[in-house]
Amino acid sequence: MKLLNAATLVMLCLGALGATLSPATAQLRIDITSASVDPLPVAVTDLHGETATTRELGREIAEVVRGNLSRTSIFRLINPAAYLESPEDVLVRPNFTNWRPLDAQALATGSVRIESDGQLRTEFRLWDVFGASQLTGLVFRTTPENARRIGHIISDAIYKRLTGEEGYFDTRIVYVAESGPPDRRVKRLAIMDQDSANHRYLTDGANLVLTPRFSPTQQVVTYMSYVGNQPRVYLYDIDTGQQEILGEFPGMTYAPRFSPDGEKVVISMARNGNSDVYVMDLRTRVTARLTRHLAIDTSPSFAPDGDRLTFNSDRSGTQQIYTMNADGSDVQRISFGEGRYATPVWSPRGDLIAFTKLLKGRFYIGVIRPDGTGERILTESFLDEGPTWSPNGRVLMFFRQIPGDDNGRGGSVRLWSVDLTGQNLREVATPIDASDPAWSPLTPLEE
């Protein structure tokens, strides 16, 4: 009996280790059930060019890629000073024995040249250093002015190939640029690439602008502007600069936001002193009322499948987050924590709703599952507000106000980003004060 126990014990120990010896094949088996969650080490060489001009363009594209990847917490850029091969050396195929000692899991290489018609031809390859094989490759033809954008597209290709998820680099941020003293604040609509490049103003500051929001399907922004005291909701085509009035709404109007198909806009409107959620069909301009409650219902945001919305209401006595069907039925309260909740925004992945929370004089950005479970706080400060999701649902951008001194000096309001993990908190550079950011979808590629 004791002998049997000893043998059994040995087998149990092996089983507990997840290791077995198979007598038939003399094969050692193990189960690996965890890994090191660390940034993936990646090397990005300058893209090779034959001339001074193309070498400079190749360096500029690589700098965009290196900047994008290094601002994430997903990748760790290996310092180019440590590279043992030049862009020319790796043009056809890298010598992987020169990259393995750097522990580079992936290596990005490429080349640029100006063709006879003036077009910029860019080749990009991503290599598996340890497997000594090509993971992906792309070729682009475009005008040299699009060099930075090529860098963003390459960044997204690397992100997708190494993580399996869509990237968010070939995107833009529209926001409210603020200047002037508090009592005479000038608020202009501004737009820039997600890495702060190509900044420009879309409005002249003559009228106050509020709550810009990107269409999920087009390069179109909806925003509010007060012309005199009259609130107007506008549609602004980023590419053409064309602007149209969606409607002039009586009373207070807040926070227009597109539906996932880009064909409707949900909005909060106060009629007869009672604020409710409405939806407007952009083709027919017919408006339908979704909430009917004496409480203040604001900040509607669609789920990515368009079946439900989240919104903000004080119907329970304090400001909380609710969800409902797209026709206004089946209203469910999902936030029950301490404090007040505002600006709920449904993630493009559908799995979370981001919010602003106010508790005991401090502001927080957090996320919660649509069923009300799993609330997590990601940031905290004097004033954090207005989260917007990257199109892949992995990063949130918001604005943070730093108070000035007693004389109103030294304060600022700026854009910040944070990963869904709560890590990687970063200020997003803007020329002047900035609030209310909205992240675009990935910019469509033209064939």
Binding site: L3, V10, C13, L17, A19, R29, D31, T33, A35, T163
Partner: protein, 127 residues
Amino acid sequence: MSRLTAFLAVSLVAVLTSVAALAEPADLARSLKSHVTDNWVVPDVFGDAELIQVTAVLQMNPDGTLNGTPEVTVTDDGGQSDATVQAYVDSVRAAIDRSQPFSLPADQFDVWRTIEISFNLKEESGK
């Protein structure tokens, strides 16, 4: 010594011998598991990758290097996208490559001539 006692004594020796022989592969497996786990680097965005299961069969050389390319099989894609599964498989291949040469006892080469490793992120991974 009765025949029964003699039989039991012989059996005891045989079992104890097998215990000794098996205990070493257990150590081997523990050490191998730790080594490969350290070299399996995954990004923090693998989503529901814990649902994916991949098996790799490694044919080994006596010096601890791989004899040929590992045979990697997706045994359960966990309902994840092709791109996620592909990235997961790449991370497994990189873990195996990065683990080379495996430091394994040469006198037990027959035990680890072929190694089968199942990769599944069922436990919370650490930084």
